[in-house]
């Protein structure tokens, strides 16, 4: 399970895109819950990359459906340094 602070940080980055005011939780999905299109998700990923100073390759995107998926991926990449 991802670190709480990683998830919090991701909530912050999502908030401006959360036009419908969905309550954010680890299992909230980008496509069906937040209704973000794939381009918006890619832009969000870019912000997450810069926030954590990591590379989150596009190849991972199909597997990152929920907030916790992204947070787990971020933690894993950060840990691997």
């Amino acid at each position: 399970m991802a670190k709480a602070e990683t998830i919090e940080k991701i909530y912050e980055l999502i908030e401006p895109l959360n036009k419908k005011g969905i309550e954010l939780g680890p299992d909230v999905t980008f496509a069906s819950d937040l209704e973000l299109d794939s381009l918006t998700v890619m832009d969000l990923v870019a912000e997450i990359e810069d926030e954590f100073d990591i590379v989150l390759p596009l190849n991972l995107l199909p597997d990152l459906e929920t907030i916790v998926h992204v947070a787990d991926a971020v933690d894993k990449i950060v840990d691997e340094g």
Binding site: L39, A46, I54
Partner: protein, 401 residues
């Protein structure tokens, strides 16, 4: 389970657009009168969205050469470049393009899409990285998908954003930076010099797609990298015959001594039939003509600047501050007004591209105009006039300066 159900959202979106008289996605060109005019729905229409930048589709020598090739070599090669599909004319075309770019090697592909697919998928191996602009053409994204590399995307035309990403990648890994000279939707030019300099600083190889800049950017029409004097930083150029060259096909050129090995590993090059002899013959003539096409180039830029200035003066919201290419994109507020505008404009006798997400960045709806070297000044003025009439009829508010 119906496999087509997953496209219901797309079908519904398409159905929600209130087209009545015409539909931009089902246009049929009934008759082609010239490079700049066609009959659509029985109406004589100015073509202002065909990417036929240099107006080569009716170039006399190109047409004659194609007819001769049909007589001499038949309608098609019926085979791969790697088997029976390489004729002397394919080799001649590759030499012509290599000469045009002042480079040693060239590979001709059957389409421009396949040129990107073939180059990017072959270059990006399992442990390599491909670094692409966020607004890259679908052929670049698809080339990435087909490769085994790790794909890193940077913010459109943002040099710092790219550098931040390059800094995070392993120093000794294989890295390919892919950019375009001109981006096809908004018609904006890339800061090619800065991007390539940074790419080289981090030890990357570089691929520049000049599909929408070949023919009219740079002294010899090689594209934006030539115009900015940074061709020495380009490892691979990719280009197409379907725009300035006026036919169909694609190519890659390079000085790399091992370049020819790609003919044995690039699947989109191998597993398809080579371009037919008539296409090859017209492409060869058209590229020779473009090389000496200074007058067409000059008139094309005059047209682009005149159209940009005219639409700007009329108060349209343009995507670039000045004409950076022959693509002039007009930004409209939403899908509804965009739909009505396109429909009215075609009724007024002007064809442009209606561009919508996801082909456009940032959810934009555009009337994408591309001008041709063969448009007369009068036609350009007519396009501007009909844009104004259309705005009035559909109630689009203009903000003249």
């Amino acid at each position: 389970m119906d496999l087509l159900d997953k496209f219901d959202a797309v079908a519904n979106l398409k159905a929600s657009l209130p087209f009545k008289e015409a539909d931009p996605f089902t246009v049929v060109m009934e008759e082609i009168i010239s490079e700049t005019e066609a009959v659509i729905n029985g109406r004589r229409t100015i073509l202002a969205g065909t990417n036929n930048y240099m107006g080569m589709t009716f170039h006399d020598e190109a047409v004659q050469a194609a007819k001769q090739a049909l007589d001499d070599f038949g309608t098609g090669t019926t085979g791969s470049r790697s088997l029976n599909g390489t004729y002397a004319s394919h080799k001649k075309l590759e030499e012509t393009i290599a000469d045009f770019y002042g480079m040693k090697h060239c590979m001709v592909f059957s389409t421009g899409y396949q040129a990107n697919l073939g180059m990017i998928s072959a270059l990006g191996g399992k442990d390599d990285y491909i670094i692409i602009d966020a607004d890259s053409h679908a052929s670049i994204y698809d080339g990435c998908s087909m490769s085994n590399a790790t794909i890193v995307r940077f913010k459109h035309n943002d040099v710092d954003n790219m550098e931040r990403r390059l800094r995070r990648l392993p120093e000794d890994a294989g890295k390919l930076v892919v950019i375009e000279g001109i981006y096809s939707m908004l018609g904006d030019a890339a800061p090619v010099k800065e991007l390539l300099e940074v790419a080289k600083k981090y030890g990357c190889m570089t691929l520049v797609d000049e599909a929408h800049s070949m023919g009219f950017c740079g002294e010899n029409g090689r594209g934006v990298a030539e115009e900015l004097g940074v061709e020495h930083l380009v490892d691979f150029y990719v280009g197409t015959f379907s725009k300035s060259v006026g036919t169909v096909g694609g190519f890659a050129v390079s000085n790399h001594p091992k370049f020819d090995v790609l003919r044995f590993v690039s699947r989109p090059y191998i597993f398809t039939a080579s371009p037919p002899p008539s296409v090859v013959a017209s492409a060869t003539k058209a590229i020779e003509a473009i090389k000496h096409g200074g007058n067409r180039r000059a008139h094309l830029w005059e047209n682009a600047r005149r159209l940009h200035a005219g639409l700007k003066k009329a108060g349209f919201n343009l995507c670039t501050d000045k004409a950076e290419s022959p693509i002039i994109a007009v930004h409209l507020p939403d899908a509804m007004i965009s739909t009505k505008f396109w429909e009215q404009l075609i009724m007024e006798g002007v064809y442009v591209n209606m561009a919508a997400p996801p082909a456009t960045p940032a959810g934009m709806f555009l009337m994408r105009v591309s001008v041709c070297a063969q448009h007369s000044t009068e036609q350009i003025d007519e396009i501007i006039k009909r844009f104004r009439t259309t705005a009035e009829k559909v109630g689009l508010e203009l903000k003249p300066e």
